[in-house]
C-alpha cells in the first residue's frame, strides 16, 4: 500500500485536445474510450446477428441493400453460404473480444478501479494508453478484413486448424482473412496484457491509506481476479496466433499435418498437430468465459448491495468463490474437446472439474439470493438489470450440467444447445452486467442522470426478448440442430425451421429495443438531469470524489483515507442507513468481517 499524496501535485491535467481526449493518459478517459469502442463493436455485432438470423429463418430471400456490404458475398442481395459463415465468424469475434471482454473489464475497470482503491491513476499510464490504442488497432485490423478481396475468415471464432492454417485453398477468407484475424487477436492480447498488468499493480500497490485488500469493493475484487486470468490466458493465445500467422506466411506447419489433400492437390505441409491448436485455444478460451463474466459478477454484486441496502451475506465467501472460478477455469477447458479425438480418458478427467465448478458458481448465486432475503430492495433500472443478470446466470448455468458430461455431449456437442448455453451465461448475462454498470455509474461518469422511465422500458423489452431468443436455442439443440449451418437442408431439421423464425423475430425486436438505450445514453449525456455526487446513497470511494465527474486526479489535493469495509449499509449513520468508506464516523452495527 502506498501513500500517494506526495505525488498528487505531480499529476498535471492535460491541456491540449489530443492529450486530453485522444492519446490520454487518464484512466477515466481510457475507460470511456474502451466503452465507446465496445459500443461501436456491439452495434456492428448486433447488425451482423440480424443478417444471420434473417438468412437462417428465410434462406435465399434477398435482404435489401446487402450487396452494398459485399457484392461477392450477397449477389442480388442474397447471402452466399460462405458469406453467412464470414458474418458469423465476425459476429462472434467482435462480440467475445471487443465487447464482452472490453466493456465490463477494460472500460468500467479502467474508469473505476483506481478510484475504488483510492488512487489518482494507474501506476503505468503510458502502458494504459498503449493498451487501448493497441486494442483499438486490433479492432480496426479485424474490421478491415471486410474490405479485402475474398472477405473475412469463415472459420468461426475458434479458428480450428487445419481449416484456419492451410490457406485460401480451404475456402474464401481463409488466406488474408485468417491472417488479419490472427493479427487482430494477437494485438488484442497485447492490449489486454498491458491492461492486466496495470490492473494487478493498481490493486496491489496503489491502495490508499486504510484500504486493505478486504476493504476493496466486490467490483474491484472482480477486476483484480479477472486481470490475473487475463495475464495468463492472453499470454497463451498470443503465441498461438503468432504460430498461426507463421503457418500462413512463413511456410511452417505448426497446426497442419502431412497427407492433406485439397482440390486434388497434396498440401506441402508435414509434422503439425491439429489438436495442438485446440489445446492452446481452449486453455485461453475457457478462462475467457470467466474473463467475460467475473467482472459482471463484481459489478452486479456492487449494484445489488447498494440497492439492497445491506452487504452480502459474506463478502469473503463471494471473493473466494470468484477466485475458485478463476483457478478452476484452467482445469476445465477440455470439456470443449470431448469428441475432438483426444484420449477419451482425458474427457473424464476434464469432466469432473467441470462438474465441480458448478459449486463455486452455485455459491455465488446462493449468496446473491440469500442476501436479497431480508433486504430493503430498491427497484431502479440498474437493480433490475442486476437482478436480470442473476436470472440469466441461473438459466445459462443449469445447462452447463449437461455439457459437463461427455456422454451427453455426444448428443449436444456443436448443436444450438451450446449456442443457447453460452449466450445466456456469458453473453446476455455479461451484457446485463454492462447495462447495470452503465445505469449505475453513468451519473458519476457524466454528471447527469439517465432517464429512468426509458431505462425501465429498455429493461423489460431486453429481459423478455433475451429469453425469447435464447431459451428456444436449447430446444433446437436437444432436437439435434447442428450449429454453424447457413441453411437447414437435412430432413430431420425441417420441423425446426418455425422455431428459427420465432427466434429471428424476437432477435430483431430485442435489437430494436436497444435503440431506446442508445437514445437514453446520448440524450442523457447532454440533457439529462444533473446528478448529485452520490445519487444512490452508496458507500464506496467513487462516490466520495470532490466533484462529479471526478477531477483529473480523482480526489483533488488529498487522497482519501478509508475507515470501513466497503459496504456499511443497514446501519445507523449520520447520513442515513449507510456510512461511507471515507467517513471516520464510528458504526454501531459494523459489518466488518475482518
Amino acid at each position: 500500500m502506498h501513500d500517494m499524496s506526495a505525488h498528487a501535485a505531480e499529476h498535471h491535467a492535460p491541456t491540449s485536445f489530443i492529450s486530453k481526449h485522444v492519446f490520454s493518459l487518464d484512466h477515466k478517459v481510457i475507460g470511456k474510450q474502451y466503452y465507446g469502442m465496445a459500443l461501436a463493436a456491439v452495434l456492428i455485432g448486433m447488425v451482423l446477428s440480424w443478417l444471420m438470423r434473417i438468412h437462417l429463418a428465410w434462406t435465399n430471400y434477398p435482404i435489401p441493400g446487402l450487396h452494398l456490404l459485399s457484392a461477392n458475398g450477397a449477389p442480388g442481395n442474397v447471402m452466399t453460404p460462405e458469406y453467412y459463415l464470414q458474418l458469423m465468424t465476425m459476429h462472434a469475434t467482435i462480440m467475445v473480444f471487443f465487447v464482452l471482454t472490453t466493456a465490463p473489464f477494460a472500460a468500467f475497470g479502467n474508469y473505476f478501479l483506481p478510484i475504488q482503491v483510492g488512487a489518482e491513476d494507474m501506476p503505468f499510464p503510458h502502458f494504459n494508453m498503449m493498451s487501448f490504442w493497441v486494442t483499438f488497432s486490433g479492432f480496426l485490423v479485424l474490421v478491415s478484413s471486410f474490405f479485402v478481396s475474398d472477405g473475412p475468415t469463415l472459420g468461426g471464432w475458434t479458428q480450428y486448424a487445419p481449416l484456419s492454417a492451410i490457406g485460401s485453398a480451404s475456402g474464401p477468407g481463409q488466406g488474408t482473412g485468417v491472417v488479419l484475424w490472427a493479427i487482430s487477436i494477437a494485438l488484442f492480447c497485447v492490449g489486454q496484457l498491458l491492461g492486466s498488468l496495470n490492473f494487478i499493480t493498481t490493486t496491489l500497490d496503489m491502495r490508499t491509506k486504510g484500504m486493505s485488500m478486504w476493504r476493496l469493493p466486490l467490483s474491484a475484487w472482480a477486476w483484480f481476479i479477472t486481470s490475473v486470468m487475463g495475464l495468463t490466458a492472453f499470454a497463451v493465445l498470443m503465441p498461438a496466433c503468432i504460430l498461426l500467422i507463421l503457418d500462413h506466411l512463413a511456410g511452417t506447419s505448426f497446426f497442419v499435418p502431412s497427407g492433406l489433400v485439397l482440390n486434388d492437390q497434396l498440401q506441402p505441409h508435414s509434422g503439425g498437430s491439429t489438436l495442438l491448436w485446440q489445446h492452446l485455444f481452449w486453455f485461453f478460451g475457457h478462462p475467457e468465459v470467466y474473463i467475460a463474466i467475473v467482472p459482471g459478477m463484481g459489478i452486479v454484486s456492487h449494484v445489488l448491495i447498494t440497492n439492497m441496502r445491506r452487504p452480502m451475506l459474506s463478502h469473503r465467501v463471494l471473493v473466494y468463490a470468484m477466485g475458485s472460478l478463476a483457478v478452476l477455469s484452467y482445469m476445465v477447458y477440455g470439456h470443449h474437446m470431448f469428441v475432438s479425438g483426444m484420449n477419451p480418458v482425458s474427457s473424464l478427467a476434464f469432466s469432473f472439474p467441470t462438474l465441480i465448478i458448478t459449486i463455486p458458481s452455485t455459491i455465488v448465486v446462493l449468496i446473491w439470493m440469500g442476501s436479497i432475503y431480508g433486504s430493503k430492495l430498491r427497484i431502479n433500472t440498474a437493480s433490475l438489470f442486476a437482478l436480470g443478470f442473476v436470472s440469466m446466470f441461473i438459466s445459462g448455468g443449469v445447462s452447463g450440467f449437461f455439457l459437463a458430461q461427455p456422454s451427453i455431449d455426444i448428443m449436444l456437442h456443436a448443436t444450438y444447445f451450446v449456442v443457447g448455453h453460452f449466450h445466456l451465461v456469458m453473453a446476455v448475462a455479461a451484457i446485463f452486467g454492462i447495462f447495470a454498470g452503465t445505469y449505475f455509474w453513468f451519473p458519476k461518469m457524466f454528471g447527469r442522470m439517465m432517464d429512468e422511465t426509458l431505462g425501465r422500458v429498455h429493461f423489460w423489452l431486453t429481459f423478455v426478448g433475451a429469453y425469447c431468443i435464447f431459451m428456444p436455442f436449447h430446444y433446437l439443440g436437444i432436437a439435434g440442430n447442428v450449429r454453424r449451418y447457413q441453411a437447414f437442408v437435412d430432413d430431420y431439421l425441417q420441423p425446426l425451421i418455425p422455431v428459427h423464425r420465432f427466434i429471428t423475430i424476437a432477435a430483431l425486436l430485442t435489437g430494436l429495443a436497444q435503440l431506446i438505450f442508445l437514445y437514453n445514453l446520448f440524450h442523457s449525456r447532454f440533457w439529462g438531469k444533473p446528478a448529485t455526487d452520490n445519487p444512490w446513497e452508496a458507500t464506496s470511494l467513487e462516490w466520495s470524489t470532490p466533484t462529479t465527474p471526478p477531477p483529473h486526479n480523482n480526489f483533488g489535493d488529498k487522497l482519501p483515507e478509508v475507515f470501513h469495509d466497503p459496504y456499511q449499509y443497514g446501519v445507523q449513520g449520520s447520513t442515513g442507513d449507510y456510512v461511507m468508506q471515507t467517513s471516520p464516523e464510528k458504526v454501531n452495527s459494523a459489518n466488518d468481517e475482518a
Binding site: L262, D264, T274, P360, I372, Y373, I379, L387, Q405
Partner: protein, 267 residues
C-alpha cells in the same frame, strides 16, 4: 414494478419448461444398443437441472416480490444460517448432484469409448472431405489396401487414393457414397480426414465423433432398427459445411450382402 418483475420471472420459467415436459422437440428416436444409457443420463440430468432451474427462478422471484416493498422502519434480516448455509447447500445439494451425474455418466461414455470393439465387428472406413463422406468396405479379403494421398482424384473418382494396380489389398475394396450396415451387428468405424476437420454425427445412432486430420480414430456401435438415417457433419469445415451429409441405411443381413455385391460390381 417489483411484483410484476417477480411474476414475469415465474411465467418465463414455467413457459420455458413446457416444451421440455411435453417433449415438443425431441431428438430422433434412438436406434443403437448404447443410446438408451445416453438418453437415461439425459433424462436424469434434465430432471435435476429442471428442478434447480425452476426452484432458483421461483425463489428469486419470491424474494424480489417480498423484499422490495420495505417500509422505512424495517430492519435488515439475515437468511437463517447466513453464508455458511449457502456454502453447505451448494456443496451438499449441487455438489452431490453433479458428482452423482458425473459418476453415473461414466458408464455410457465407457461403453462407447473405453470398450474395444468385438473381434467380429464389421470394419468400415469413412473418409470425410470437403463436403462429402465416402465409405470403404474391405471386400472378400477382409483387408483394406493402403491410402496414397497423392493419388486422390475427385475427377477420376479415386476418392481414397487407392492404387489398385500395385496394391493387391486394394483391388477388392468397395467404395461407396452411402453407408449401409446390417442390423444388430457391431460396426467398427475407421475414421480418416482428407483435408480439414469434420465430424460424424448420427443423432439417431447417438454417436458424434470428430475427424482429426493426421490422426485416424475409430468408433464402434450397433444399430437395432432397420431404416434410413442421416449422417451430418458438425465440425465447421468450410462453405459447404451445412450441406455435408450422407445416408446410413440399416438393412437385414441378406439385404446388406446383396447391396455389397451390387456395389462391388460397380467398382
Amino acid at each position: 414494478m417489483a411484483k410484476f418483475f417477480a411474476v414475469t420471472i415465474i411465467v418465463i420459467a414455467i413457459v420455458s419448461a413446457i416444451p421440455i415436459v411435453r417433449h415438443t422437440w425431441d431428438p430422433p428416436a434412438d436406434i443403437s444398443t448404447h443410446g438408451g444409457m445416453i438418453d437415461e443420463q439425459m433424462s436424469e440430468t434434465m430432471a435435476e437441472a429442471g428442478i434447480s432451474f425452476l426452484a432458483s427462478q421461483i425463489l428469486l422471484a419470491l424474494f424480489i416480490w417480498k423484499f422490495s416493498n420495505s417500509r422505512p422502519g424495517d430492519k435488515i434480516k439475515t437468511f437463517p444460517g447466513g453464508a455458511k448455509a449457502m456454502v453447505w447447500a451448494a456443496f451438499l445439494l449441487v455438489g452431490t448432484e453433479v458428482l452423482a451425474l458425473g459418476v453415473f455418466g461414466v458408464k455410457a461414455w465407457a461403453t462407447v469409448y473405453l470398450t474395444p470393439p468385438s473381434a467380429n465387428a464389421i470394419p468400415i472406413q469413412v473418409q470425410a472431405g470437403q463436403f462429402a463422406f465416402y465409405f470403404r468396405y474391405p471386400g472378400p479379403d477382409g483387408t483394406f489396401g493402403p491410402l496414397h494421398p497423392d493419388m486422390i482424384s475427385e475427377a477420376n473418382e479415386n476418392f481414397f487414393g487407392l492404387d489398385t494396380t500395385h496394391d493387391a489389398d486394394s483391388k477388392d475394396d468397395i467404395v461407396t457414397a452411402e453407408m449401409a450396415i446390417p442390423v444388430n451387428k457391431e460396426i467398427h468405424l475407421l475414421m480418416h480426414a482428407k483435408d480439414v476437420g469434420h465430424s460424424f454425427y448420427v443423432p439417431a445412432l447417438r454417436v458424434q465423433q470428430d475427424f482429426v486430420p493426421g490422426l485416424d480414430l475409430t468408433l464402434h456401435f450397433t444399430a437395432t432398427q432397420i431404416g434410413k438415417y442421416e449422417i451430418v457433419c458438425t465440425q465447421l469445415c468450410g462453405l459447404g459445411h451445412y450441406n455435408m451429409k450422407a445416408y446410413l441405411e440399416v438393412m437385414s443381413q441378406d439385404d446388406f450382402d446383396n447391396w455389397l455385391k451390387k456395389e462391388a460390381a460397380l467398382q
